[in-house]
Subunit: 340 residues, 2 copies
C-alpha cells in the first residue's frame, strides 16, 4: 500500500505535511511518496532528526506550487510541474494507491477530474466529510465541490454517500436524508422538490434507504447516516457548525479565565475538554474523500497539522482498501435517474 | 403602547403565552390584547392566581386555531376566525401597535402579507433574527420566510437589515455581508453572483455599507453586522448553529455526569453555564421581526416559554417605537435595483 502526498499544499506546507508523512510511515505499514520541492523536503526531514531519507519514504521532485490565488479550473495545466499535478499524474499512472492534498479544494477537484478521471457514468465528484453528532456521526455529501447541482447529481451523491457510509460506518443500509428547510416533502426550492422525487423513487425500488427531508438541526441529533445536499448548501452547513463550535469554545475559554474558581473548574475536566475539542476538530478526522473519482483522492483540511496529515494518510489507506470506486462502477446502472 | 398577542399559537400555547403576556403587562408599561379562546384564556389567568382580568390586559375572542398541518398560504382564509387571523385584523385596524405570534411561520407570513400588507415597494417580507457571535451579534436576513429569492429581494433585505441593525444595535453604518461559500466575488451560485453586483453598486453609490461575501464561519467571528441570504440558505445556517450548540451542550452534560470530579467542575461554573445557555437560546432573544410588513409583526419561537413571550412582547414594543416600517417607506426609492 502506497500513498502519494502533495507535500506543498496547505497552510502549514511543507513542514507539517512532511512530518505527518514521516509519522504515518513510522506508525503504520504504509509507504509514502512525497511530491514537491526536493531540497526543501530533504531539509525538513533532516530537521526532524534523520540523517537519511527514512525507509518507506520516497521523494518525487516538482518545481511549482498551486497557490490559493491560482484559477482552480486551470492551475494544474498552467502549473503542470506543480506538486499537485505531478502527484495526480503519479496516481493516474498507478505509482501509488491513493493521494492526499491539503491544497486548494477547487484546484484538486478540477485536476483530479481531468487527470485521474471520474468513474464512468458519474456526473460529478463530491466532497464527503464525516460529521460528528450526538449519535456518532454521519456522511455529508456534497460539502462544497459543486456549487450548482441538478437533482441527478444529488441522486448520485446519495448512492456514493451510501457506499461510503457502508464502508466507514459498517452499516448495511445507511439512512439517507435530504438536507432541507423542513421535514415535509413539499419543502425547499425546486432543486429539493425534484431531488425528493428521485430519491423517493429509488427508495420505492429498494436501492436506497431514503428516509425523507432532514433539517440541519435534526441531522446533528442523529436523524440520518448520509445527508445529501448541493455543494453550496453543504458549505454553509459545515461552516455554520464550525462557527458555532468556535463561538462556544471561545465563550467557555472566557468563562474559565474569569477567576480562581472557574480556573479550577476547567482543571477538573481538562482531559474531557480536550477530547471534546478533538472530536469537533476537522483536523482530527484526517481528510475528506473526493467520491466519484476513479482512484482514492483525499482532501486534507487546509490548516492541517502533522497529526491531521498522518491521520489523512491512514484514512487514504482505508479508503483505497475499501475499493469505493470499484463499488461505484459496479452499481452505476442504478445510480442513473429514469431521465438519463 | 399596545401589543396584540396570538394566544393560541406555539407548542406551549395557550398557557405559556398567557403567562408571558401577564408578566409583560406587570413588568412594563405595555398594554396587551390576548386573542384566542376566551374561556380557556380566562381559566389560565385564574390558575395564575388572579380573580379578575389583570389591568392592562384585554381579551378578544377567536374560536379557531391555525395548526401546523394547515396549508400556510390559505389557513388565514379557511380559518378566518382563528386567533392569528383575528389578531392580524386587529393590527390592521389599528387596535394595537404591534403583534406577536408563536404559531406557524408560513401562515403568519402569508396572513401578515395579505391582511396587514407589505410596505409599498417592498417585494417580500423577511425574517430577521439577531444571532449571537463572538463580537456580540448580527442580524440574519432572511432566515426562512422566502425559500426562493431573486437578487432584487436580497438587495431589499440588505437595506431592511441595515435599518433594523441601526435601531437595535445602535450602529450608524452597519457592515453588510453576503452569506457565501467563499470570500472572493466570484463565489456562489448565479443568485450570489448577481446579488453581489447589486450590493456592490449600492456600496458605490454609498447607500449601503457592503463589505463583500462572508463565510458562515466568519460571520460567527464578527465579520459583519447584517448577513444577507435567501430564506433557504438562512434556514440551513440557523438550524446548523442550533444543531451544533445542542451537540456541544449534550456532550458537556455527558462529561459533567461522569464522576464526582466532573460534577464539581460543573458546580463551580453553574451560573456561567446557564448564562451561556441563555445567550445561545433562541427563546431568550424573544422573537424575530417580519421586516417589510407595514406594521410590526414578531414571530416568537415555536417552543417559546412564558419568559420568551414576555421578552418578545417587550421587543415588539421597541420595534414599534423604532418605526422601521416608516423608515422603509422613506427610503424605498434607493431600495430598488436599476432594473426595477
Amino acid at each position: 500500500m502506497k500513498v502519494i502526498v502533495d507535500a506543498m499544499g496547505g497552510d502549514n506546507a511543507p513542514e507539517a505535511i512532511v512530518e505527518g508523512a514521516v509519522l504515518a510511515a513510522q506508525q503504520s505499514d504504509i509507504d509514502v511518496i512525497l511530491v514537491g520541492k526536493g531540497e526543501q523536503i530533504l531539509r525538513i526531514i533532516e530537521d526532524l532528526g534523520f540523517k537519511d531519507i527514512p525507509s518507506k519514504i520516497e521523494i518525487v521532485n516538482a518545481t511549482q506550487i498551486i497557490e490559493i490565488e491560482d484559477d482552480p479550473a486551470n492551475a494544474f495545466r498552467t502549473k503542470s510541474d506543480s506538486s499537485m499535478s505531478v502527484a495526480l499524474n503519479l496516481l493516474s499512472e498507478g505509482r501509488g494507491d491513493a493521494l492526499i492534498s491539503a491544497g486548494s479544494t477547487g484546484a484538486l477537484l478540477s485536476a483530479a477530474t481531468l487527470i485521474v478521471k471520474r468513474v464512468r457514468g458519474i456526473r460529478r465528484a463530491a466532497l464527503a466529510p464525516f460529521i460528528p453528532n450526538t449519535q456518532g456521526g454521519f456522511v455529508l455529501i456534497d460539502c462544497g465541490a459543486n456549487s450548482e447541482c441538478t437533482p441527478e447529481y444529488l441522486l448520485q451523491f446519495a448512492y456514493m454517500g451510501t457506499f461510503y457510509a457502508q464502508d466507514i460506518m459498517k452499516i448495511k443500509s445507511p439512512r439517507v436524508g435530504l438536507l432541507n428547510n423542513g421535514a415535509e416533502p413539499t419543502k425547499g426550492t425546486p432543486l429539493q422538490l425534484a431531488t425528493y422525487e428521485l430519491l423517493d423513487n429509488a427508495a420505492k425500488s429498494k436501492t436506497l434507504n431514503f428516509i425523507g427531508n432532514v433539517e440541519a438541526k435534526e441531522a446533528m441529533k442523529g436523524a440520518c447516516d448520509v445527508l445529501v445536499c448541493d455543494g453550496f448548501t453543504g458549505n454553509i452547513f459545515l461552516k455554520s457548525l464550525e462557527g458555532m463550535a468556535s463561538l462556544i469554545m471561545s465563550e467557555l475559554k472566557g468563562i474559565y479565565m474569569q477567576s480562581a474558581k472557574t480556573k479550577l473548574s476547567a482543571l477538573l475536566i481538562r482531559k474531557n475538554l480536550s477530547q471534546l475539542k478533538e472530536k469537533l476538530n476537522p483536523d482530527a478526522i484526517g481528510g475528506t474523500p473526493l467520491l466519484g473519482i476513479s482512484k482514492p483522492v483525499i482532501k486534507a483540511h487546509g490548516s492541517s497539522n502533522a497529526l491531521a496529515i498522518k491521520n489523512a494518510i491512514i484514512q487514504a489507506n482505508s479508503a483505497a482498501s475499501a475499493h469505493i470506486a470499484a463499488k461505484l462502477s459496479e452499481h452505476i446502472a442504478r445510480m442513473k435517474s429514469a431521465d438519463d
